[in-house]
C-alpha cells in the first residue's frame, strides 16, 4: 500500500491555472501577467468558464488555482467556484486580499472553495504598500488572513522576493506565523514580462540572497510540522535552469482571461506561438493536438547543450520564455543554465551586482509599458 508521486510526464494535465481577469487593484512591478493585459471586455463569461472547467475535469484536471489579476473583481467568482466544485475540481483562490470581506468569503465557502493563497509584498505595511503600488493594501491582507483563518480554510502566504524585500525574509516568516498560515512560499522573482521590465530595480545582490537562504534554512527546522516553508530558487544566481511548469504541456495548463490557452502564463510573450483559444477549439484538442502545446513538449525540440544533457528529463531545458526574452529564440537552452552559450547574459548582471541607484518601478498598469513594440526586450541593467 503506497502513495507515489504523480507522473511528471503524465499524458493528462493535473492542474489548471484560471486567470479570471487581468484587472487588479495592486500594481506589483514583477507581476506575472503579460505586459499586454487583457481588457475586461474580452473576458470569458460565467458560462464559458463553467464550460472550460467541465472540459478540464474531463481531460483529467483535478486542481485549479483561481487567479488573475485579482479574481475577487469577478462578481461571478462564486458561480465559477461552484462550477469547479460541480466538476470535481479542487479550488484554491489566489488573491491579493483586497476586496475580501466576511460576506464574500462566506459565499465562496458555500460555493465550495477549498483553500486560499494570499500574496504579501513585505512584512512592513508601508513597504508592502509601496511595492504593491496601493495604499492600505497591507491592512486588507491582514484582515483577509484573519477571515480565512476564522473560516477554517487552509491558508498559504506567497511572497515574490527581490532587492526590496529579501532582507525582510525573517520578518515575513514571522508574519506568516502570526497570521496562522499553513504554508509560506518565498519565490524569487522570475525576470520576464513585468519582472524583466523592472529588472534593474528588482535584481538583488548575492549577499542578500545568501543571507535570506540561511534564514530560510534556520527557520525551516523550527517550523517543521507546523508551517511548510517553500523556497523557489533564484535561477539567475544558481546557474541552474528551473523545471518550468514541470515541463511544457506536461502537467498543467493556463487559461487567460480572454480564453487563450497556454502551457505557462508567461508564454503569452512568445510572438509566434499561435496560442489556441477555448472559444475556437475544445480543450482536449488544444492539449493533445495544438501546435502550441506540442511545440516544446518532451525533449525532441532541444538543441545545443540540452540535446545530450543528462538533466534534460529533470529541468526540460529550463524556461522557454526566458530563453526567448534574453536571446530572441525560444528554442535555445535557458540562459540561466551555466552550460548555456548565452549564460554570460545573466552572469554579467549577477557578477557586477545591482545598480547603486535603482530606477523607480514601472508599476503594472494597462498602458504602463513605455514602448509597446519593445515590451519583451530586456532593459540594460543600468551600468
Amino acid at each position: 500500500m503506497t502513495t507515489h508521486q504523480a507522473p511528471v510526464n503524465g499524458a493528462r494535465p493535473w492542474a489548471l491555472l484560471a486567470e479570471l481577469t487581468h484587472a487588479c487593484p495592486l500594481h506589483c512591478p514583477y507581476c506575472s501577467n503579460p505586459l499586454e493585459l487583457a481588457r475586461r471586455s474580452t473576458e470569458l463569461s460565467t458560462g464559458q468558464w463553467t464550460d472550460v472547467l467541465r472540459q478540464a475535469a474531463a481531460l483529467g484536471v483535478v486542481h485549479t488555482h483561481l487567479s488573475g489579476g485579482e479574481p475577487l473583481l469577478r462578481p461571478d467568482l462564486e458561480r465559477i467556484v461552484a462550477a469547479a466544485e460541480a466538476a470535481g475540481i479542487y479550488t484554491q483562490l489566489v488573491t491579493s486580499g483586497t476586496g475580501l470581506d466576511e460576506a464574500r468569503l462566506g459565499a465562496l465557502c458555500a460555493a465550495g472553495l477549498r483553500s486560499v493563497q494570499l500574496s504579501v509584498q513585505h512584512a512592513d505595511a508601508k513597504a508592502n504598500d509601496r511595492i504593491a503600488g496601493r495604499p492600505s493594501s497591507f491592512a486588507a491582507k491582514e484582515r483577509a488572513a484573519a477571515l480565512v483563518r476564522r473560516a477554517g480554510l487552509p491558508l498559504g502566504l506567497n511572497v515574490v522576493l527581490h532587492r526590496d524585500n529579501l532582507d525582510a525574509v525573517d520578518d515575513l516568516i514571522e508574519l506568516g506565523e502570526a497570521w496562522g498560515v499553513d504554508r509560506i512560499e518565498l519565490a524569487n522573482t522570475q525576470f520576464y514580462g513585468w519582472g524583466l521590465l523592472n529588472r534593474a530595480a528588482l535584481l538583488p545582490t548575492r549577499d542578500q540572497l545568501a543571507r535570506a537562504r540561511e534564514t530560510v534554512e534556520r527557520r525551516r527546522e523550527r517550523l517543521a510540522g507546523r508551517i511548510d516553508l517553500v523556497w523557489v530558487v533564484p535561477d539567475y544566481f544558481d546557474g541552474v535552469a528551473k523545471p518550468c511548469m514541470g515541463g511544457w504541456g506536461a502537467v498543467s495548463l493556463t487559461v487567460a482571461p480572454d480564453g487563450t490557452v497556454l502551457p505557462c502564463p508567461a508564454a503569452a510573450s512568445l510572438p509566434d506561438l499561435d496560442a489556441p483559444n477555448v472559444r475556437d477549439r475544445p480543450l482536449d484538442w488544444i492539449w493533445e493536438h495544438s501546435p502550441a502545446f506540442n511545440r516544446f513538449r518532451g525533449t525532441g525540440w532541444m538543441s545545443g547543450p540540452c540535446g545530450g544533457c543528462p538533466r534534460r528529463e529533470e529541468d526540460f531545458g529550463g524556461c522557454r520564455c526566458q530563453a526567448y526574452a534574453l536571446t530572441g529564440d525560444a528554442a535555445r537552452t535557458d540562459p540561466a543554465c551555466a552550460l548555456s552559450p548565452d549564460h554570460h547574459l545573466i552572469r554579467s548582471l549577477t557578477d557586477t551586482g545591482p545598480v547603486q541607484e535603482p530606477p523607480p518601478y514601472v508599476y503594472r498598469r494597462p498602458g504602463a509599458v513605455p514602448e509597446p513594440g519593445h515590451g519583451g526586450s530586456p532593459e540594460p541593467a543600468g551600468r
Binding site: M1, T2, T3, H4, Q5, A6, V8, R12, W14, A15, A58, L59, G60, V62, H63, G88, Y90, Q92, R114, S115, Q117, G152, L153, P154, G156, D182, R183, G225, D228, G246, V251, S252
Partner: protein, 99 residues
C-alpha cells in the same frame, strides 16, 4: 503539484483510541480519467494506489483503527490488513493528512 510522503519518525498513534478522519483541507476522490483514487491537497495531488483509497475512505472519524482493520478484513479476506493498515494510517497522520 505532486508529492510523496516522507517517513519521518513519530510515535505511532494507531494503537490508541484514535478515530482517523481526513483533514478538512483534503479532498478524497476517484479519478475516472486515470482510474485511480486521489488525495487532493492545497498544493499537491497524491495518487493512492491499490486499495489505499478505500482505506482512506473509511477514515470518517467514526471508526477506530481497529474498526477500520476489521472492516477491511471482511472486504479482503486473507489480505495482510492487520499488519499493513495501521502503519499506513500512521504515515498519513505524520503527513498531517489524517487528524
Amino acid at each position: 503539484m505532486a508529492g510523496q510522503p516522507s517517513g519521518a519518525g513519530v510515535t505511532p498513534v494507531s494503537g490508541s483510541q484514535w478515530r482517523p478522519a481526513l483533514a478538512p483541507a483534503l479532498m478524497l476522490r476517484h479519478d475516472s480519467v486515470r482510474g485511480t483514487d486521489l488525495l487532493v491537497l492545497p498544493e499537491r495531488v497524491v495518487v493512492l494506489e491499490g486499495h489505499a483509497g478505500q482505506v482512506v475512505g473509511l477514515c470518517d472519524g467514526t471508526r477506530t483503527v481497529r474498526g477500520i482493520v476489521d472492516e477491511l478484513a471482511g472486504r479482503f479476506p486473507g489480505a495482510p490488513v492487520a499488519t499493513e493498515v495501521p502503519s499506513f494510517l500512521d504515515r498519513l497522520h505524520q503527513e498531517g493528512w489524517l487528524k
